[in-house]
Amino acid sequence: MFPEIIPPRDLRAPIDAFVGNIVNEYSGLLRAVTQPLLDLLIWMDVLLRESPWWLVILAVAVLAWLASRRIILPLAVSGLMLLLGVLGLWDASMQTLSIMIVAVILSVLIGVPIGILMASFKWLRSIMLPVLDIMQTMPSFVYLIPVVMLFNLGKIAAIIATVVYAVPPVIRLTDLGIRLVDSEVLEASRAFGANRTKQLFGVQLPLALPNIMAGINQTTMMALAMVVIASMIGVRGLGYEVLQGINRLQVGRGLLAGLGIVILAIVFDRITQALGRRYQHQNKEL
């Protein structure tokens, strides 16, 4: 046995006190700050669930066509979405989809700028890399506890947990993509007198786009993996169905809902991948 040097209670107590303190002092403020996010989530939820099912399928098909410019992908995607409805999972799917969309938008809004900064500042990268490792390996329940304490059970807590878990790939791949941009191409833009903004938006980001798209693809997949856990803190949707299947030992219910998650994953994956491939093709190396 390893000798006890510091009693565990002494280690835990200050942490508990610290978080408790934050909850007491700031939870009101934090809730006020995140109110717009909650509004967005609710708006998206209403939008997807109230819209006629064929309109949603049509929208997804149009997105698929825009991403791939081929007829096959929209057809396949529409078929999969129809299957969701046929399996009786439409409403749950739409709830999950709405959270997913917001989570991915947030992840991109947070992840891409951080990735850009990491690519430009070495010191930031050396700080961020271990942080990203922690975000990806720390069991999500660990940060679910304080998040739930701060925001209560519900959508906000779920979306924060999802973003924390899902944002690392887009950060990593943005950073990588920008650092992989051919130095001579970047130098050419400098030599012609482009300023930082023009270098970033005219050269670095467009050339990093295939990698960024791969990051977004990974991020969506990880966000989907999070939905079951998110359902434990009170978010309805496909994850909730799975959870109920577990609780009530209903294999069929769990399996079908799981299938629904897989279908959503495939739809997301194929659309983002098709988009990434199109950029990849455009940027094909010299």
Partner: protein
């Protein structure tokens, strides 16, 4: 006045270059600096003056600092010490904004691996410099179009760089650089990545464009043939130091050290050097009105078997000893009737051409300049010496040159 003037440029790569600047000034060797401090000496005390309207070639092996040097002209790389002037602008004093302006207007650059934007069409690539300047879309496309036509790429505007061959890609690079109308063109090993035939074609095109545009061109290369072909002046770098600077002839005829000499080994000298380098000032020349007795006396005095005869400044022909004797015996008033025709080559004829003529006949050859005026008589020995300087020639100490190719 010089267009570009750099003086006493030092560049040390590493975390604390200023600390080792004095050591570099005191002449610490590259290896020692690296061993003692982990810093790399990029350039040591480089001063150059580049004339307006000339093609200035900077040459050296890889690692000699030539690409580092060219990036100092537009401060893509900051010198550790030294001054850079372009016309009357002190480039070192420019702030961030001014430097961007300066790069947009004054200088443009062509890169070894082209540096084209893969996500932009050929037309947009060529228009990039103008776009950065803020020129309206329509106008910049028009101007880019014009330059694409100039470099022979009309019809490829909508293509993307990866759809073009290497030579065509570099033409886009050239059009992009020319489109901004900058007076100074920096070309960093611009043709090194191309295969020899295309390279030659591009060199011709550059020379032809230069004859119309009269830009100031700084051209980096590791290929001496290319340097000699393009350069009005050549600077040779070795290990970050300037070894020799001068006209192509200066360098060919008087290499400063073994390093330069080693460079010269592979070069096709006969294409660069021409007849004028291989001719002797004649010890004696006569005119058409010289008296035969005078001719015979002078030729005997100099021990000559023949001598050129001039009419004014122009070559009239050659007088052999026998003809002179005959003129004397026949009591001619002057030598003009006894002069035989003499073959001549223009001063600008390459040595390879001269060599061909020499092999066809053993008769003496005269060299004449562009006004048909007599310059001298071709020396067979000099021709051979110039073409193969390492060949031991009878009666002379053999010149031994050890080819040295340091990987510095």
């Amino acid at each position: 006045m010089a267009k570009i003037e750099v003086s006493n440029i030092y560049k040390i790569f590493g975390s604390r270059p200023q600390r080792w600047l004095d050591a570099a000034r005191d002449g610490i060797s590259r290896e020692e600096l690296l061993a003692r401090s982990g810093h790399t000496l990029g350039l040591r005390d480089i001063s150059l003056s580049i004339e307006e309207g000339s093609i200035y070639v900077i040459m050296g092996l890889s690692g000699s600092g030539k690409s580092t040097l060219i990036r100092h002209f537009n401060r893509l790389i900051e010198p550790t010490a030294g001054h850079i002037r372009v016309e009357d602008v002190d480039v070192m004093s420019l702030g961030m904004r001014e430097l961007e302006q300066f790069r947009q207007r004054k200088m443009s650059m062509v890169f070894q691996r082209f540096g084209l934007f893969p996500h932009r069409s050929v037309l947009d690539n060529a228009a990039y410099g103008l776009k950065v300047q803020g020129v309206a879309r329509k106008e910049r496309q028009q101007r880019a179009q014009h330059w694409l036509e100039q470099v022979g790429l009309a019809g490829y505007e909508k293509q993307y760089p990866h759809q073009l061959s290497g030579g065509m890609q570099q033409r886009v690079g050239l059009a992009r650089a020319l489109a901004t109308d900058a007076e100074i063109l920096l070309m960093d090993e611009a043709f090194s990545a191309l295969d020899p035939l295309i390279r030659r074609e591009m060199q011709d095109q550059l020379l032809q464009l230069q004859s119309q545009l009269n830009k100031t061109i700084v051209f980096i290369t590791h290929d001496l043939d290319e340097a000699l072909r393009l350069g009005n002046r050549i600077a040779i770098l070795k290990g970050g130091e300037l070894v020799q600077e001068g006209t192509p002839e200066d360098i060919l005829l008087a290499p400063a050290d073994d390093y330069v000499q080693a460079f010269l080994q592979d070069v096709n000298r006969s294409r660069v050097l021409n007849a004028v380098h291989a001719c002797n000032e004649p010890a004696l020349s006569l005119t058409t009105r010289s008296r035969p007795v005078h001719a015979v006396e002078r030729m005997a005095a100099h021990g000559l078997r023949f001598t050129p005869v001039l009419d004014g400044k122009r070559l009239f022909g050659v007088l052999t000893r026998e003809s002179a004797d005959r003129a004397l015996m026949e009591g001619a008033r002057d030598v003009s009737r006894y002069v035989e025709a003499m073959a001549s080559v223009p001063a600008s004829a390459g040595l390879d051409e001269v060599l061909g003529r020499m092999l066809h006949s053993t008769a003496p050859l005269a060299v004449t300049d562009e006004n048909d005026e007599f310059v001298g008589v071709l020396s067979r020995r000099k021709v051979v010496e110039l073409i193969r300087p390492t060949l031991p020639i009878e009666g002379e100490e053999p010149v031994v040159v050890v080819p040295q190719r340091s990987a510095a």
